[in-house]
Symmetry: C2
Subunit: 282 residues, 2 copies
């Protein structure tokens, strides 16, 4: 998905919020916003939103002198999600179509963005979200491919969401299961450490995409990731950043699993914001 | 009120929306956003949000070669509001404390921002909004000053809202009533033409502030406005732009009448967004 003009004010707002999460220094906040303005000035350089996001969020690392400014937020999100694991498993075991609801649980994990929820808030929120059906769900196509699938790859998004994805992985009866995460910390996206911390190694092989942006850039991907990406029978791409990176790729075994939070993506998919989708590419 | 970092992404979003209202040309949209980014880069030059707003919205005039790009939107808003006049008067006549509800009607006019409502939508919306009380209302102080007031000045905001203000003016039993508007068109703010079109000359003397920004800049004000401003027993300042310009002025006869639409103003006043306030200065 191409970068839109709408992304520019949104990135500026995001980086201001992000900066305030990690520093109270007005001086640093000003420096970051000023540099961010310089970056968005050259918006035509960036093909997709995640490419611009990497540059802008890099400023937080630079000015706070911290290679992983969201470390604590990520740890808290994983902890909160792990505390919900049994509750979610219990809910899932009561459902008739377990695959549908496992996908839904994984999609709901997407609300863990920025780890802003307390345990109580998240639990309350999740019960409400669990009642909502997908606004778009290509389950039939997925089940058809799944029957013969030997290799499945999930491309992860945020830390915390990873625990919800574990529940999905546990429902997938496939020989080889891979879970891909970011090579280096970027915003609150899951890294190898976060994936292990979430227990994903118990039900899949954790790999790195090789990328350091909140999405996928094929020029950056590791050889290992590319091989798995190319050989997988099914790929599940989680969240908005991965959607923005992969939505134009011609590959009919990719399924996008996300909560739509942004009007530009909503328009691209043709489904309103705040809805959940499980969408087959093409 | 000082310009905040939060204003920068917000202005960029606003100008993109505004540009799209008046032109479909992607090329012009890009040029305007690029120039707007240049302007917000120098945000420290601007003391208040309206000063920056003038620069940014000036770009729409420049690139569309149109000194009044919101002319049609303003005309439509006034027409829609005039069609509601009898309904609003009818509502007002059923109320016990007519002054309170006349102030409330004037505040509700503030939802006419950008004239995005159709007649039907506005009517539906207004019935709902009419039921909401002010979240903050310094009516007692106002009534006290009003008892002895001879001169009252309303500083207007948007075209369309002007018709709602007329209803307020008609309830104010004061010898001399003044209604101040912008000197030149800026966004959808009311000008002399819009004020006459709204019938404000029937119940007040319409004057210009002398300003061409969506608020007040004392360096720009006409002598006539300054004299009335200084001699008025009561000043009612409508909307956010005027609040941003006047909230630091030491003058205890100013009352701010607005709907809070922005989180920065919400924090400054200490009342959440989407609420109505009628607040005495100081």
């Amino acid at each position: 998905m191409k970068l839109q003009l709408d992304c520019l004010p949104c990135f500026l707002r995001q980086i201001l919020e992000a900066t305030r999460k990690v520093t109270n220094s007005i001086e640093i906040q000003e420096k970051i916003i000023e540099d961010a303005i310089e970056i968005i000035k050259n918006y035509k350089k960036y093909k997709t939103p995640p490419e611009l996001a990497r540059e802008i969020h890099g400023l937080v690392k630079l000015y706070t002198n911290n290679p992983d400014p969201y470390k604590d937020i990520k740890k808290q999100s994983i902890k909160t999600a792990k505390n919900l694991y049994n509750f979610l498993k219990g809910f899932l075991n009561q459902q008739k179509d377990k695959l549908y609801w496992a996908l839904k649980i994984s999609a709901i994990g997407n609300v863990l963005d920025y780890g802003v929820y307390s345990q109580v808030e998240l639990e309350k929120n999740i019960e409400k979200e669990l009642k909502k059906d997908f606004a778009l769900c290509d389950l039939k196509d997925f089940k058809k491919l799944l029957e013969k699938a030997k290799k499945i790859l999930i491309i992860g998004d945020n830390a915390g969401e990873t625990v919800f994805d574990k529940i999905l992985l546990e429902e997938l009866k496939v020989n080889e299961k891979f879970y891909a995460v970011k090579e280096t910390p970027i915003i609150n996206d899951a890294t190898l450490e976060d994936a292990y911390d979430s227990g994903l190694h118990e039900c899949s092989r954790i790999i790195s995409t090789g990328c350091s942006l909140p999405g996928i850039d094929f020029k950056e991907c590791s050889q290992e990731f590319l091989e798995i990406f190319n050989k997988a029978d099914i790929i599940i791409s989680k969240g908005q950043g991965n959607y923005e990176s992969l939505s134009e790729i011609k590959k009919d075994n990719i399924f996008f699993l996300l909560k739509i939070k942004c009007p530009v993506i909503a328009q691209h998919i043709g489904i309103d914001t705040n809805n959940y989708v499980f969408k087959k590419q093409g």
